[in-house]
């Protein structure tokens, strides 16, 4: 039973990651109708906002001393510049809090990247065939990846959560199980809560603001809204920026869970498309729901007693579930009719 509850927690946690990534994608793909293969790259760029900020904060400057290294060269002794400005203790704390700090840092950066991307490239492709969109965004994804690889290397980069969040929360004793039977890491709980807040914020924004209403109207009938004298193009640009920021924030918060490398976006690309389509094209709620369903299924499939009975099920469960859902529900969970069906 405790194992079961643990896997539900895992499922919610994984699901929140999938939902968050799919949310950004479905804003662009499910609603603007652009097949954006660069979405994974946006997720990756978000993660590298964290790396950049943490690198910047802990950028080492010479202290003036020189030390002989064990491999025979003489290197100057260095320390993070921030020690010089804030003192060692405060400086250390600021570096330690790089991940939460980069939430603030990444929002403007990611919106900027999103807007730049839309203005510079994507807007010329709204009316082009999906095939062309695939080619251009895939090309862009590769270019973005390679730029990151050029500066940060291919290896994973450790980006731990602040020391205050290390450790786990004991759910078990809270609900009457043995102590330590159901423990869950603080950071993952934070990630889950953060996702819920972000998802809720995006929904509220689209539902309750005039901007959101116009965008929703524009999604269903771009030309009519255009005729009303509303500059829908500009709003779509902002929408793209928001989607990029959502993807980026998903990446920022994910860094302590999986150390980022330049390739992480590609690893998530396929799954995020599967989540969006299983959720149903054009449905934000569907994407979120699909994220949680697939995350939970994946968690259960990785349990030992499941694997003993169905070896390899953990390898395929997401795809199997996707096939079953798409065959029983023609437009995914909550898809709108006629969106990317031809």
């Amino acid at each position: 039973m405790d194992q079961f509850i643990l896997q539900i927690l895992n499922g919610l946690d994984k699901g929140s990651a999938y939902a968050l990534i799919a949310l950004g994608l479905t804003l662009i793909f499910g609603t603007l109708g652009v097949v954006n293969f660069a979405h994974g790259a946006l997720f990756m760029l978000g993660a590298f906002c964290t790396v950049t900020l943490s690198r910047f904060l802990s950028f080492e400057v010479d202290t003036g001393e020189v030390m002989k290294t064990a491999w025979g060269t003489e290197n100057p002794v260095t320390e993070p510049w921030i020690y010089g400005t804030l003192g060692e203790v405060t400086g250390q704390t600021v570096i330690d809090w790089a991940v939460p700090l980069s939430i603030l840092f990444s929002i403007p950066v990611m919106i900027g990247i999103g807007v730049l991307m839309e203005r510079g490239l994507i807007k010329h492709f709204y009316k082009r065939p999906h095939a062309d969109q695939i080619l251009v965004t895939f090309g862009l994804a590769i270019v973005l990846q390679e730029i990151i690889k050029y500066y940060f290397g291919a290896n994973q980069i450790a980006t731990p959560a602040p020391a205050a969040f290390v450790g786990s929360f004991d759910f078990g004793s809270l609900i009457g199980f043995d102590a330590n039977s159901i423990i869950y890491p603080y950071w993952r709980i934070i990630y889950f809560c953060f996702s819920l807040v972000l998802i809720a914020a995006v929904f509220a924004f689209l539902q309750f603001t005039t901007f959101g209403m116009v965008v929703r109207a524009g999604m269903s009938d771009r030309e009519t809204v255009g005729l009303l004298g509303i500059n829908i193009d500009r709003r779509f640009t902002i929408m793209f920026g928001i989607a990029a920021a959502v993807a980026g924030l998903a990446g920022v918060m994910y860094t302590p869970i999986v150390s980022p490398n330049y390739h992480m976006g590609m690893d998530f690309l396929v799954i995020s498309f599967v989540v969006v389509v299983v959720g149903g094209m054009g449905s934000l709620g569907g994407a979120v729901l699909a994220g949680f369903i697939l995350g939970t299924l994946e968690s259960f499939a990785s349990m030992q007693f499941v694997l003993e009975r169905l070896p390899g099920i953990n390898q395929i469960v997401i795809y199997l579930a996707a096939i079953v859902i798409l065959l029983t529900r023609p437009r995914g969970l909550l898809g709108r009719k006629g969106v990317m069906e031809d």
């Binding site: 290397g153 450790a158 786990s168 423990i183």
Partner: protein, 445 residues
């Protein structure tokens, strides 16, 4: 159509066809005079360095490439000579290989068997490479080794740790210096028993592919021989990035040790998850919970950051080894590139030297002669103590290092500390236990 596999590019390049201006076509018939594929010309010889340059192992590949460039420099008499002076066989004198200047071509394996073979074939067919070396996974090593066997080229494996490379998939033209899963298990088990006791219950997470299987098998067998019990062994998809659903159940499974049969990104991520779930600080069965990583590399340790502290594992070589060979190599590499070499760099450097030495001793580039010179070759001074290139399976037998994550690293390269140098004798096994057949050497012509 005349039958020939001989590519004459090497010959042409070095000007053997001097009649450059001749308008008359020259038909090259079977290259019978040399008797083997890609026989080099008189002035230079081309080696093929096939390493991952894209994909998750690109950094490891880059380090391998640095080592190869260093080896070529040393073979051609440049730099400080590195391990040439400490190598027990003093045949190499810095004038290339058999008096021919060493040149090289590079390629990208992408850590995919298909791409690696394409790259290797291009080196053989287009560039006339006489030997192929490199790689950072067993899938690639096994694939390229088989290709070299077919093409009649010597393959000097880079980083490949699966038993299969010199076990069931061994080939007469292929040679491995790196250690393997079996040796990791054999070296680790006594240290684990000494540090964690003999009444431990282990939980294995195993990457779901060939290397994972052989590593799990090796560690299980050797730890169970010490009295440990295996509670569970769960296979994890190679593409997995978040291991929470695999790690979460471990604490309540009755196990008190977690063995991560993962490499590269898998290991970094599973270890990160394990530490997040508090396994490193937990208690189980009245003992401190422990984590073990059978195969360590410095790049992995770097990716996992502080999570590796105090965690045991094995490695082929480490730059902090005190012997003269290791020191010479580390100094030479550090001077050129500004940081110490990785174990992948070391094995690649050594393999290049070993090949050059074997050619020199054999007096020929013929793969069969080279293979004969390597088989049963005993040497020292290349960093792992006295070493044997066993004739039966073309596997090197040498000391294996048991290491653990350093508690207080001095710098970003000083992440592992050596706990034990397990002598070669303790990790040697019977050549027949993994099956497979070497076949006979193929000179390619």
């Amino acid at each position: 159509m005349s039958k020939t596999n001989v590519t004459r590019r090497g010959v042409l390049k070095t000007g053997a066809v001097a009649g450059a201006g001749l308008a008359l076509p020259t038909y090259l018939a079977a290259g019978g005079h040399s008797g083997f594929a890609n026989a080099p010309g008189d002035s230079s010889v081309t080696l093929g360095f096939n390493v991952p340059q894209t994909g998750p192992y690109a950094d490891e590949g880059a380090d391998e490439l640095r080592a190869y460039e260093l080896a070529v420099e040393h073979l051609n008499g440049g730099g400080d000579g590195g391990m040439l002076s400490t190598f027990s066989s003093q045949e190499l004198s810095g004038n290339g290989i058999l008096g021919r200047k060493v040149e090289y071509v590079t390629g990208d394996t992408q850590t995919k068997p298909d791409a690696a073979r394409a790259s290797a074939r291009s080196m053989i067919e287009k560039d006339g490479a006489i030997m192929i070396t490199g790689g950072s996974s067993s899938g690639v090593a096994v694939a390229v080794q088989a290709l070299c066997q077919e093409a009649g080229i010597i393959f000097m494996a880079g980083l490949t740790h699966s038993n299969d490379t010199t076990g069931k998939d061994k080939k007469a033209n292929g040679f491995r210096h790196f250690f393997n899963s079996y040796m990791s298990g054999a070296a680790l088990a006594p240290i684990l028993a000494a540090n964690y006791g003999t009444s431990r219950k282990a939980y294995h997470l195993t990457a779901d592919y060939n290397w994972g299987y052989t590593t799990e098998e090796a560690v299980r067998t050797s730890t169970e021989a010490m009295g440990w019990e295996t509670v569970a062994a769960v296979k994890t998809p190679l593409a997995q990035t978040d291991f929470s659903s695999y790690v979460a159940p471990v604490l309540n499974s009755g196990a008190d040790v977690l063995v991560l049969n993962h490499y590269g990104g898998n290991m970094v991520n599973s270890l990160t998850s394990a530490v997040q779930f508090g396994l490193r600080t937990a208690q189980a069965n009245g003992q401190d919970f422990q984590i073990v990583v059978p195969l360590y590399s410095r790049l992995m340790a770097k990716g996992a950051g502080a999570n590796v502290k105090g965690i045991f594992g094995s490695t082929n070589w480490h730059w902090s080894l005190p012997d003269a060979g290791s020191q010479a190599f580390t100094r030479s590499f550090g001077t050129k590139y500004g940081f110490p070499p990785s174990q992948a760099a070391h094995t690649c450097y050594v393999q290049t030297l070993l090949y050059a030495d074997a050619v020199t001793r054999a007096g020929s580039f013929n793969p069969c002669a080279v293979g004969e010179a390597l088989e049963g070759f005993q040497f020292d001074g290349l960093g792992n103590g006295p070493t044997l290139y066993r004739a039966e399976d073309h596997q090197c037998f040498k000391d294996v290092l048991v290491v653990k994550g350093k508690e207080n690293p001095d710098n970003e390269f000083d992440l592992l500390e050596i706990v034990e140098v397990t002598p070669a004798a303790q990790v040697t096994y019977d050549a027949s236990i993994f099956g497979g057949e070497l076949g006979s050497c193929n000179p390619g012509a």
